[in-house]
């Protein structure tokens, strides 16, 4: 059933599934033979690839890892849609939907319970998905091993002196009558092949001089690199799943945290160090609420010592102790209030900038700018009463204002009211630094993805190998050229033949110009 050696592909992939060579595996039991045959079949590989594709589709249609409620809702929507199509329910008629609600909901619940049992809600981690991948890997390994002897022969066991008949059966060939003696012709062939980069081997038999040269034999290794890379990537994945963890932690601004929720074990785990979040900030595009950037200023604290600090954002994580912390989400804690001030030097001569994030009322020093800034009072909705005293009209952030005190190097303290909405309405213009009211809000938390994956380097090794392997397999070719210089009836003929396992058009051109250089009929034209 596997014997389908089409002549067109004979040179391309000369290992279409061959029948077992007779005599091989003597002593093996019938069962082992059958098993070997089963796993060494590329048919199996193709079928497994298509099954993997088909099964993966299920997982993209059904929500993976979402809550039971979400999934039941999803199923219910689907059922209503089907019922609607069947005419049982009219999806546009609320009364009809209500009447059938119990039925659809029950059906959705049953369907959900079934899909949980069948592993559909976590398909890519279901035992049968792993089993398929294992089967696939084994199949890949066996097929690759089986192919190797053939590849090795193609690369290293080429006969220099092929019989004339074999050369004449090759698709790319050319007969040339150069004139002159046999030795002259042989020297010319040798030089020509050398010049084309084929560094020929020479042999003499049956009164003929034979040459063989090849280029890019390593191109045949591309498929091995690619196949190995897939197995390496699987190994990397297994290491990650078994040795690593992936979790989530929340840190409120101004506090430290060492606990995180491990997604796989669904338990809280504790890191051997703390992460402190000094500041979390969201920048928006213009006046919109579309986030442009969000970042957290994190400090790693271990044994009471600050080990490192980094501002992380979505594409730039913090790494400590091989554990990676990625910015993933943020939100309001609903507690407290905070103002963000930007401090810049008042004099144009000195430059520098600082940010005050105030959760309490301690003064903050900015040695570079020679000032210290303290937030004395914050009013979310600023207004003045009859006596022109400030008060809060409401708790809504309608007009956030902050009373600050800025101390200069001379110890002179000046106070001013700053308004987020009205940057110019500063009550005191002669502060020793330029202070801008940037943001007012509740204290936020930053959500971090916590990842430890010792297998990730294995993955990158696999990926690199895959890139190299695929490039070699698809964009390079193994080219072989044979030449036979023979003399009969005093006439010397060169028989040139060759093949390439890929890019035959390109090879045909090279072959043509090689022949042209040896052929006196075309030699003059191409020599110059």
């Amino acid at each position: 059933m596997t014997e389908k050696n089409d002549s067109r592909q004979a040179e391309d992939a000369p290992a279409p599934e061959k029948k077992e060579q007779p005599g091989k595996k003597a002593g093996g039991t019938g069962f082992v033979d059958a098993l070997w045959k089963f796993f060494s079949s590329v048919h199996l590989a193709v079928i497994l690839l298509l099954i993997l594709a088909a099964i993966s589709i299920i997982g993209t249609v059904l929500a993976q890892g979402d809550s039971a409620k979400d999934n039941i809702q999803l199923y219910e929507n689907m059922i209503v849609k089907i019922f609607d199509t069947l005419g049982v329910v009219d999806a546009n008629d609320p009364a009809s939907l209500e009447a059938q609600h119990e039925r659809t909901h029950l059906a959705a619940e049953r369907l959900y319970r079934f899909s949980v049992r069948a592993g559909f809600t976590d398909l890519y981690h279901a035992w049968y998905f792993y089993a398929l991948l294992a089967l696939f890997s084994f199949n890949l390994l066996v097929c690759t091993i089986k192919r190797w002897p053939f590849t090795y022969r193609m690369m290293a066991k080429n006969e220099v002196a092929l019989p004339e008949k074999r050369l004449k059966s090759m698709q790319t060939r050319r007969a040339i009558t150069p004139g002159g003696t046999r030795e002259e012709a042989a020297a010319m062939v040798e030089a020509g092949m050398k010049k084309a980069g084929y560094s020929p081997k020479r042999a003499e038999s049956e009164g003929a001089v034979s040459f063989f040269g090849q280029k890019g034999a390593w191109s045949r290794l591309g498929v091995y690199g690619t196949h190995a890379s897939i197995l390496i990537i699987f190994i990397g994945g297994i290491i990650g799943v078994t040795q690593g963890f992936k979790g989530y932690m929340q840190i409120t601004e101004g506090t430290s945290e060492s606990r995180f929720f491990d997604r796989r074990t669904k338990t809280t785990m504790i890191l051997p160090f703390e992460i402190r979040c000094d500041n979390f900030q969201v920048d928006y595009y213009g006046d919109s609420r579309r986030p442009k950037d969000f970042y957290s200023d994190l400090v790693v604290v271990q044994d009471g010592e600050e080990k490192m600090s980094k501002r992380i954002e979505v594409n730039s994580p913090l790494v400590w102790d091989d554990i990676w912390f990625y910015q993933s989400s943020y939100g309001e804690t609903g507690r407290g209030a905070k103002v963000t001030l930007r401090i810049a030097a008042a004099a144009a001569s000195s430059s520098g900038e600082g940010v005050v994030k105030q959760f309490d009322t301690r003064p903050m020093d900015f040695p570079d700018l020679g000032v210290s800034v303290q937030v004395l009072q914050v009013i979310p909705d600023f207004a003045l009463d009859e006596n022109r005293r400030p008060y809060a009209k409401s708790n809504q952030p309608n007009n956030p204002a902050a009373l600050i005190e800025v101390k200069g190097a001379d110890g002179d303290a000046r106070r001013a009211w700053l308004f987020q909405r009205y940057a110019d309405a500063r009550t005191s213009k002669d502060l020793p630094a330029t202070v801008t009211f940037v943001d007012y809000g509740g204290i936020q938390y930053t959500g971090l993805q916590v990842v430890y994956d010792p297998g990730v380097w294995v993955i990158w090794v696999g990926c690199t190998l895959m890139v190299l392997g695929l490039y070699t397999a698809f964009f390079t070719s193994h080219r072989r050229i044979w030449a036979r210089v023979a003399e009969s009836d005093g006439k010397v003929t060169i028989l040139l033949a060759g093949n390439a396992n890929k890019n035959r058009e390109g090879f045909a051109e090279t072959f043509q110009s090689l022949g042209d250089r040896m052929d006196p009929k075309t030699g003059e034209k191409t020599a110059g």
């Binding site: 592909q9 929500a63 579309r290 993933s328 698809f474």
Partner: protein, 271 residues
């Protein structure tokens, strides 16, 4: 201004398609040549359109479905030119260009405003990853076109009804080689696209693979084409079977591209 460029290129492709179709009917050499030139002009204008978008937005023009559809259409025409360089199949444009035209027409019904990038997409990988993935898929689209032509041509041969179309279509062998060549360029490109996506995912989210629908569907596509390549190379599938599998692969590409965004996107989306 960029939308005008978009419409000009769309018009050029439409005229080019007419040229190729007329060539199919009348077999006048100048018609196919005009088609090629119009395609070329359309391609240059579309490239300009993408550059203008990119400069205006300050990033690779692929931040919403409108831009993605156009970039995909551009990639398809690009792959078409690269393959035409070797194969010179005069009627291929009659099949490939309408695909680009449909994508571009759909895109006109979408929001064309330049949207700023969400933080997760602000990375140099955006351009590299999407270009590789889109080009890879574009070569598969050309393979699909070749496969359709193959099936049409084969049908004529089978029915022993060498109709007017027969002499205007390339030989089965050429079409089969076109398909194979497209696969051998598209498959590595697509794989490189998936790998760069994994690198990006690892650096942005801490996960090189998340089974996101888009990821999974590109893996499904990858499985299908891997199966097709092995069926061709080692089992010796040629012609019809290979053509059908290539058409199935095209379905997977369409779903990865449109289905995931429009149907599954609500559940799992990058935004």
């Amino acid at each position: 201004m960029d939308i005008i460029l978009h419409k000009i290129s769309l018009l050029m492709y439409a005229f080019a398609t007419v040229g190729f179709l007329l060539y199919l009917g009348h077999q006048k050499e100048f018609l196919s040549r005009a088609g090629s030139w119009l395609t070329g002009i359309g391609f240059v204008v579309q490239s300009l359109f993408l550059v203008v978008r990119g400069v205006k937005a300050g990033h690779h023009p692929i931040s919403n479905l409108f831009e993605a559809l156009n970039f995909f259409a551009w990639s398809i025409v690009c792959a078409y030119f690269i393959l035409q360089y070797r194969f010179r199949i005069k009627v291929l444009g009659a099949l490939v260009l309408p695909i680009a035209i449909v994508l571009m027409t759909i895109s006109l019904t979408l929001d064309t405003t330049i949207a700023p990038l969400i933080p997760a997409l602000q990375s140099n990988w955006l351009g590299i990853h999407t270009t590789l993935a889109f080009l890879g898929n574009a070569f598969f689209v050309v393979a699909f076109a070749g496969s359709v032509l193959y099936l049409v041509q084969e049908r004529q041969l089978k029915n022993r009804h060498l109709g007017s179309l027969f002499h205007r279509l390339p030989s089965l062998d050429v079409l089969d080689r076109l398909q194979y060549r497209s696969l051998t360029i598209g498959f590595p490109l697509m794989t490189f696209g998936i790998i760069t996506g994994a690198i990006w995912g690892a650096s942005a989210w801490g996960s090189y693979w998340s089974w996101d629908p888009k990821e999974t569907w590109s893996l499904i596509t990858w499985f299908i084409y891997a199966a097709l390549l092995h069926a061709r190379l080692t089992i010796g599938w040629r012609g019809r079977k290979a053509a059908w599998l290539s058409i199935v692969g095209f379905g997977a590409i369409l779903f990865t591209f449109l289905g995931v965004n429009l149907i599954l996107g609500g559940l799992h989306s990058y935004n």
